[in-house]
């Protein structure tokens, strides 16, 4: 199989539209949220038009169909990330909820999973706020201590203190598989093996890696992996927490409500086995089915060829941006262990103003701290502009980005 970007673009209706008075849309904000192919949009419509019912509790034919579609999506997602046991896949509303689920549950756990004073949680400076704040809250509730891996000025994790940071007090190490700002791909396998040797659990924020088909939980070495549907061609409102089965069995529930129980009495309840123990109330059913369709869409492509295509875009962009005076790329300057998000600063033009000019050229990017404020502080910048590439982007769009940045420089009179 090979990869034809022109054919893929035809699957994404939104790429045909124009913006800002007739300019073709150049969508370089997929790390924020990806666009959706026709196949996913049609699946959502078809579900609501033909199969809509609540799951697991309706005894009619529609209920059976909806349940089969929902549970089928769980199996599809499980296979995509390399597990044969779909009961290890918990649906959540997004990855933020997935991480909060783990942090909250561990805060209520007893025995070996319990977190308390003297325990340490280790995260990194390059985390998204979603992988920072839940741990701060856990530390506040339990008296545990939050510790941090620093980042180097070239945007890699500083592993020189790893042996000191990960020690016998460490309960959990939580880190990004791929940075949403820098694109850096972290050495999760070696960090996980160090953490396990110290008796700690490992949670991986895979929001930016799973969309590119970069996930095999059987070889990653993590205990928890979270990702979100809307960054991988799926709908918003659906995410996944994968965890080892024995952990899900041992962990206390997160949200209480319908469907997560086994029995309910006035003085106590018992809980359903995982994954349903963690899926309280009516779930985002259509969105889960839509996520299944997104996974099917990605799986039907040659993902190695997709990644090669994205790699060429990143290479082209790194090269084109490096030629612009006053532009500083945050993170690895070479396309090695590096995903497809490129953040940068531009001397004399604030990121908001850069992105406004780009928007006027039809180029959609993100400006700000990208929910990674500690990382920006560590790199000594207040905010940045981020372009991120996905399977439907083209070399011409990379050039449009570089042209737009030069337009911004001209507009603000810095060249």
């Amino acid at each position: 199989m090979s990869f034809d970007v022109g054919r893929v673009r035809k699957d994404f209706p939104i790429l045909d539209r124009t913006v800002r008075g007739g300019r073709p849309l150049v969508y370089l904000d997929s790390a924020n949220t990806s666009q959706k192919p026709r196949q996913v949009i049609d699946t959502l419509s078809d579900f609501y038009e033909r199969h809509n019912a609540n799951i697991h509790r309706a005894t009619h034919e529609l209920g059976e169909e909806a349940t089969a579609a929902y549970e089928g999506a769980r199996i599809t997602a499980a296979r995509f990330i390399g597990t044969s046991d779909e009961t290890e896949v918990v649906f959540t509303k997004n990855i933020s909820e997935a991480i909060n689920l783990v942090a909250y549950s561990l805060g209520n756990a007893a025995g070996r999973l319990a977190v308390g004073p003297g325990d340490e949680i280790v995260i990194t400076e390059m985390e998204h706020h979603s992988n920072i704040v839940p741990w701060q809250l856990l530390c506040q509730r339990t008296g545990a201590t939050l510790r941090w891996f620093n980042v180097t000025q070239d945007g890699r994790l500083d592993l020189s203190r790893a042996d000191e940071l990960i020690n016998e007090h460490t309960k959990i190490v939580a880190l990004a598989h791929q940075s949403n700002v820098l694109g850096t791909i972290n050495p999760v396998v070696s960090i996980a093996s160090r953490a396990h040797a110290a008796g700690a659990l490992v949670l991986v924020d895979a929001a930016q890696s799973v969309p590119h088909g970069l996930m095999d939980v059987s070889s990653l070495g993590a205990d928890f992996v979270g990702f979100t549907g809307h960054k991988m061609c799926g709908p918003t409102g659906i995410g996944v927490l994968w965890a080892r089965r024995e952990l899900l069995e041992e962990m206390p529930p997160f949200l209480g409500g319908g469907e997560m129980i086994e029995t309910v009495f006035m003085d106590r309840s018992t809980y359903a086995p995982p994954p349903h123990k963690f899926e309280a109330g009516t779930m985002p059913i259509a969105q889960a089915v839509g996520l299944g369709a997104a996974v099917d869409y990605l799986s039907d492509l040659d993902l190695a060829a997709v990644r090669a295509h994205e790699h060429k875009l990143v290479q082209r962009a790194l090269h084109a941006l490096a030629e612009i005076d006053g532009l500083r790329i945050l993170g690895p300057a070479e396309p090695v262990d590096r995903g497809s998000a490129i953040s940068f600063t531009l001397d004399g033009v604030h990121p908001h103003d850069v992105s406004q000019v780009l928007d006027d050229c039809g180029v959609a990017v993100r400006a700000g701290h990208h929910c990674a404020w500690p990382l920006h502080r560590a790199l000594g910048v207040q905010s940045s502009t981020r372009a991120s590439f996905y399977l439907y982007n083209t070399p011409d769009e990379v050039d449009a980005l570089a042209d737009g940045i030069r337009t911004a420089q001209k507009f603000f009179g810095v060249t």
Binding site: R20, G21, H350, P351, H352, D353, Q356, V357, D360, A367, G368, H369, W373, H376, Q382, S383, F411, F412
Partner: protein, 162 residues
């Protein structure tokens, strides 16, 4: 290009050459406001002085990090409110807020140069940029007035600075 509707020449002028910039003493109140979506921040001080029936804005000084819109906006604000009675300055703020929230036809008599921000109101993502300095000023001024209402005269902070 539609950019010029937002980036009016007056805005770019204020951005390149901001008025009343820098933190000065004495002051009655100081606040620090942040735009959480982008991290832009402003530290802003207000000094009041007694003038007839009500206090007047004696000085507004600030230090700010941010985009052209937020920088220009706070610069225009200082031109408009310094030397005005507090109630008149508050009316200007209310009119600016109305312009940003409803993109209503601005009252040029009240807003002066600030009418050029009408173009910004058409870009919802940038309204917070334009309002950052104004919200900080309103907060600082309210704190300064509250102090005077409770104790009379300028704050001990301001007296000490003198």
């Amino acid at each position: 290009m539609q950019l010029e509707s937002m980036y009016q020449e007056i805005i770019l002028d204020h951005y390149r050459h901001p008025h009343h910039k820098g933190l000065r003493e004495p002051f009655d109140a100081e606040v620090h406001h942040v735009n959480p979506t982008c991290g832009d921040e402003v530290t802003l001080r207000v000094m009041l002085k007694d003038a007839g029936n009500e206090p007047e804005i004696a000085d507004v000084s600030y230090d700010a990090l941010g985009c052209s819109i937020s920088q220009a906006s706070v610069s225009v604000l200082t031109d408009l409110v310094i030397g005005k009675p507090v109630s008149e300055a508050m009316d200007i703020e209310a009119e600016f807020l109305r312009l940003m929230r409803s993109a209503a036809e601005p009252d040029e008599d009240v807003l002066g140069d600030a009418v050029v921000f009408a173009g910004v109101a058409k870009y919802p993502a940038r309204i917070k940029c334009a309002l950052l300095g104004w919200m900080a000023w309103k907060d600082a001024t309210s704190q300064a007035i509250a102090w005077r209402g409770d104790f009379g005269g300028s704050s001990p902070l301001a007296r000490e600075q003198r």
